[in-house]
């Protein structure tokens, strides 16, 4: 079985690792995917621990700090569609999707052939730290001129339906959860959509069953803000393992805990 995980910094190792490394910042982890620091990072975040608990043959962690739900949907579909096109099996996967704040977005820069990841507080160029000034310019324009809570909530619903229906259709077992409790902590509008979200989205597989109650923050050790510590990642993997067993999403050997 292959464990495929996607998400934002909560799955990537935010607060444990920085994008920029090396004496002059020459190592850029989103770009230098095979760098030893990246390999070390991959081994300390919850997908690695969960993979061991589940006895996965392989763990693929496609998450990225600063990433949006747009990116999560795009890269997850890219991965599975690549397999389907090569007539490879997809139902031998187990997937965890950690949804992030719906306000985030991404833009593709055709001149530099790179994606810019945009959040309300920060922005990053995926492949070139020197281009982060462009990311920041896009961020300012987007949130000042185009962004609305109502649109981000609507698009979040379509993202959940897009991946949830895809997994159901292809018989890929999966579990959804969010990074933080952004529904209750968010704007009035997001709170107002909560009953609707819970009712529509509860058909999919959520940690704790209820979408709005399904989040990582506050549930594991995180001494430096909301991101899990090293211990927090181990704890979250154990919680997911128990939840996968409770929902009988795949067969697990409980004695490994």
């Amino acid at each position: 079985m292959i464990l495929y995980a996607n998400g934002c910094s909560f799955t990537w190792g935010g607060n444990l690792y920085n994008f920029s490394n090396g004496i002059n910042g020459e190592i850029w982890l989103p770009r230098d995917k095979d760098h030893p620091i990246n390999l070390e990072r991959q081994n300390v975040v919850y997908p690695a621990h969960l993979g061991k608990l589940l006895g996965a043959d392989k763990v693929i962690n496609d998450s990225l700090g600063c990433g949006s739900n747009h990116r999560i949907v795009r890269t997850t579909l890219d991965y599975f569609i690549g397999l389907l096109n090569n007539n490879q099996e997809v139902s031998d996967h187990f997937v965890t999707i950690q949804w992030t704040e719906p306000s985030r977005i991404e833009f593709f820069d055709e001149i530099d052939d790179t994606w810019h990841m945009i959040t309300a507080k920060s922005s990053v160029c995926e492949t070139d730290p020197a281009k982060c000034n462009i990311s920041n310019e896009l961020r300012e324009i987007y949130y000042k001129r185009i962004y609305s809570d109502i649109q981000s909530a609507e698009i979040f619903v379509s993202h959940i339906i897009c991946l949830g229906s895809f997994f159901e259709k292809h018989k890929i077992p999966y579990l959804f959860f969010c990074s933080t409790n952004f529904w209750s902590e968010g704007t009035h509008l997001l709170k107002a959509t909560l009953p609707k979200i819970d009712k529509i989205m509860c058909d999919y597989n959520w940690y704790n069953d209820i979408p709005s109650q399904s989040f990582m923050a506050g549930k594991v050790d995180a001494p430096h803000g909301a991101h899990p510590s090293l211990l927090g990642h181990i704890q979250w993997a154990e919680k997911l393992f128990l939840e996968i067993d409770r929902q009988k999403l795949i067969y697990v050997k409980r004695e490994v805990l």
Binding site: R74, E106, I141, S148, S158, C162, E168, K199, I200
Partner: protein, 257 residues
């Protein structure tokens, strides 16, 4: 059986009717359903004719001239999700989705509390069909930040979201396209996304051909300079769809031209 249709001006009646009819206020047809012009419009377009052919007890046409695929996905999910929230049956529906140009977009203007439809020809406020000057900046910036690669990623996301939603909920459906936006746009994108193209064929497309579209289907058009279907063209397109629905056995009805 209820027939639900969504699309852009090709499903709305573009070229035959004008959004700028201030009396009929056709930009918000749901609020002016019974206006004579609106009734005439709804009875002129292909969903009406197809509804009769397939024996629909009700035809719901939520298309809008100038609408984007973002709008099509949002309105369609909103319609079905509202039924699901009320525990109403949705498998008694048949759906046609006429996808539009993927470069189109929408955003929500919190000042007017309305969605703004955005096309390469301009923008308008859905609520009142006005083109407010203060939105010019958002409009220009949207196109400045858009890219073919991202438009195509969004299109994939949209097709997968609705296609798999219909499959999971056992709602028979048929997808089609209005025009040859797949000319330069699509072929350029295929360099990056040829894998996706193959897998898009898993969904129900009219004549099993993504490149088949209304403009080049041989149906009557409004004029040489306006590729929208004419009155006869809408009937002809309904015939083409009905034949395809019968061939695919999407619905059980007797098809006679």
């Amino acid at each position: 059986m209820i027939y639900y249709a969504n699309g852009c001006s090709y499903t709305w009646g573009g070229g035959l009717f004008s959004l700028h009819d201030d009396d009929a206020r056709l930009w918000v047809p749901s609020l002016h359903e019974k206006h004579a012009v609106n009734v005439s419009r709804l009875q002129s377009v292909y969903p009406y004719h197809l509804g009769k052919m397939i024996g629909a007890s009700q035809v719901i046409n939520e298309s809008l001239a100038g609408g984007s695929n973002f709008r099509i996905v949002r309105k369609t999910l909103e319609y079905f999700n509202n039924l699901l929230i009320k525990n109403k049956k949705i498998t008694n529906h048949f759906v046609t989705i006429q996808w539009t140009d993927p470069t189109r977009y929408e955003f929500y203007d919190t000042y007017q509390n309305s969605w703004i439809a955005v096309t390469n020809l301009g923008y308008f406020t859905e609520k009142n069909n006005k083109k407010e000057d203060y939105l010019q900046d958002a409009y220009k910036n949207h196109y400045r930040m858009s890219s073919t690669q991202q438009d195509f990623a969004n299109f994939i996301n949209h097709v997968y979201a609705l296609g798999n939603f219909f499959k999971v909920h056992n709602i028979p459906y048929l997808f089609c396209k209005h025009s040859g936006w797949d000319g330069p746009f699509f072929k350029e994108s295929l360099i990056y996304y040829k894998d996706y193209y193959k897998l898009l064929l898993q969904f129900n497309w009219v004549k099993d051909n993504i490149e088949f579209h209304m403009q080049e289907s041989g149906i009557e058009q409004v004029s040489k300079d306006d590729g929208h279907p004419g009155l006869l063209g809408h009937k002809q397109w309904a015939d083409i769809l009905a034949e395809d629905i019968a061939n695919k056995k999407l619905l059980n009805f007797s098809f006679h031209l």
